[in-house]
């Protein structure tokens, strides 16, 4: 009996730690160690011909990356693709969510249907869209020709290539975000709309003046998560490319920051420079996520007054 009690006391003390320990053990290997090691690598020379870790060079790798015109280009590209993908995506997602937030017949089926593109892998999406946006004889260019417009060289022109890449991201994520927004919209009490309707407010006015201010935290959540995701875009620019190097087009016209880290670190094996670039990307993501958070808060607050 006594033995059993003693065992039980140790059980109560130790079990919680044992239960959480698998997470922390694996995380130490695949999360914490890489984080610290990237920090170390970014401050050291890496001799890729000798395969040896070199001496401490301070911020030299950061200086090199920031002086690299390709890095700066990839930074602008990342930002441009992000803006083209997040803004229309969130606007359309709010619209779709508002449409879904009604007494639809076959409600569940509609909700499932808008999620269809989400189960298509990004690799598959980019191969499909790559053919739709083909420079010669692609369907989109055929359609442009049919209405009398000049064909666009989607894989060559810098800003048009961003639009093509952004369209794949939008395609895959709009329905997903619409469902998140829908969940928040359903929590808005229905009688608020009834009194607004009595006052003669149209559906659009109700959406802008009642729904959006009330689901503000969710809108912020969607914007911040799409910022973090959108700035890490890799698969689309990598596979959209039809040049053999696959470094974001012949002139890096759609190379993104994550692609830059991959090319420098894994293909070219400049570990120090790639690590410095990865840290800069991290800083960039945090800055933009915080800025977006602040902006959205400020913007929606003014709206609701």
């Amino acid at each position: 009996m006594l033995r059993r009690q003693r065992r039980s006391r140790w059980d109560v003390r130790l079990a919680p730690y044992l239960f959480v320990s698998p997470f922390f053990v694996v995380f130490a290997v695949v999360g914490l160690f890489p984080l610290l090691y990237t920090g170390w690598l970014s401050l050291h020379e890496w001799d890729r011909t000798q395969y040896s870790r070199g001496g401490f060079v301070g911020l030299e790798n950061f200086r090199w990356v920031l002086d690299d015109p390709v890095f700066l280009k990839s930074l602008v590209n990342t930002l441009s693709i992000f803006v083209m993908s997040s803004v229309p995506q969130i606007v359309v997602a709010v619209g779709v969510a508002a449409l879904l937030d009604s007494q639809l017949r076959g409600r569940t089926l509609w909700r499932i249907s808008v999620l269809l593109p989400f189960v298509v892998a990004p690799t598959a999406a980019v191969l499909i869209f790559g053919s739709l946006f083909a420079d010669r004889s692609g369907v989109i260019n055929e359609l442009l020709g049919a209405v009398g417009l000049e064909p666009i060289r989607w894989h060559v022109e810098r800003w048009w290539s961003h639009a093509a890449i952004a369209s794949m991201v939008n395609w895959r994520w709009t329905g997903y975000n619409a469902l998140i927004l829908l969940a928040a919209m359903q929590a808005v009490p229905r009688d608020v709309y009834e009194s607004a309707a009595l006052d003669g407010a149209s559906r659009l006015r109700q959406l802008v003046h009642i729904t959006l201010p009330m689901i503000r935290p969710t809108v912020i959540f969607v914007i911040v998560t799409s910022t973090i995701g959108g700035l890490q875009i890799f698969t689309e620019p990598r596979l959209f490319d039809d040049t053999p190097q696959r470094e974001g087009g012949a002139n890096h016209q759609y190379m993104t920051m994550t692609l830059y880290v991959y090319v420098k670190g894994i293909e070219d094996q400049f570990y120090g420079r790639a690590s410095a670039a990865a840290w800069l990307l991290f800083l960039f993501i945090i800055t933009l996520a915080v800025a977006n958070y602040a902006l959205t808060r400020w913007f929606t607050r003014r709206r609701s007054m």
Binding site: P16, F19, V30, L115, V120, T123, Q206, I228
Partner: protein, 274 residues
């Protein structure tokens, strides 16, 4: 909103759904025509009769079945591991009292903000130095646990398991592990299913990390990448590339048909609690 929606609402929604489905439809249409017909203008708009011919060209070009099996193994391994460890940790954080609990939980939440890009170079070096490159284990390793999983299960179990039930099991002389097994696991089952689905899809569709970790071995996404490279030439072989794309999409489409309802519920629940 309360009123019954009019035809305009149905029309707009239908337009959105059709627009969403068109790219997939396109891959099946082009994938079922000959290479030459796929390049003609105007392009075909109805499926043709060459899908099987294209599919056999795909099977000649890439190790499709092997890649499919590899993806299945890696995704199942990661999803199982994430569900088991997240449920254990989530239960501990939600229902047990121990020193340092809140600090550890805050740490878990903070790690969600760290992007994977930050880790690819050191993980690549680690895998190379320990001769793990080109193994399926290397592909699975970074996703054996996720901070999101722990957070998700904790949020769910906070409400799903009453403290009284945990106390009662303890009074009956259950060990901590037995309490977990008899009280927490049954209550956590719906959330476990959703977490399994999402982790499975996340690993299945991932492209960047397998690209770093693998050399000759291929997951489905890497095989698709190689198919696209083969299909490039003077004139891209869209019939081949899109037939392969369609074939690679079928497994997740099946999953979507079988568990679309759970996916929707998972996204909408996550939104409410996140």
């Amino acid at each position: 909103m309360t009123r019954r929606p009019g035809p305009l609402v149905y029309g707009l929604l239908a337009a959105f759904v059709v627009g969403s489905a068109l790219p997939l439809y396109w891959s099946f249409v082009i994938g079922s025509h000959t290479k030459e017909r796929a390049l003609e203008t105007p392009p075909p708009i109805l499926p043709g009769g060459h899908f099987l011919a294209n599919a056999s060209r795909v099977l000649d070009t890439i190790e499709f079945w092997q890649a499919l099996l590899n993806s299945l193994v890696v995704s199942t391994l990661c999803a199982t591991s994430v569900v088991v460890f997240s449920t254990l940790a989530g239960y501990s954080f939600a229902k047990l009292r121990f020193r340092g609990r809140d600090g550890l939980m805050a740490f878990v939440i903070m790690t969600m903000a760290v992007p994977t890009q930050l880790a690819i170079v050191p993980l690549f070096i680690l895998m190379r130095d320990y001769r793990m490159l080109d193994t399926l284990f290397a592909v699975a390793l970074p996703t054996l646990v996720t901070a999101f999983g722990v957070f998700f299960m904790r949020q769910y179990l906070l409400e799903a398991v009453p403290f009284e039930l945990v106390e009662a099991a303890r009074m009956d002389g259950c060990s901590m592990l037995r309490t977990f097994w008899t009280v927490a696991v049954p209550a956590a089952r719906p959330a476990m299913a959703i977490l399994f689905l999402f982790t499975f899809m996340q690993v299945w569709t991932d492209y960047m990390w397998p690209l770093v970790a693998l050399q000759k071995t291929e997951t489905l996404q890497i095989a698709l990448d190689r198919l696209a490279l083969t299909g490039q030439g003077q004139t891209t072989d869209y019939a081949l590339v899109l037939a392969g794309t369609a074939m690679a999409t079928v497994p997740l489409l099946l999953l979507f048909v079988l568990s679309g309802r759970q996916l929707v519920a998972g996204i909408m629940q996550g939104a409410l609690k996140g």
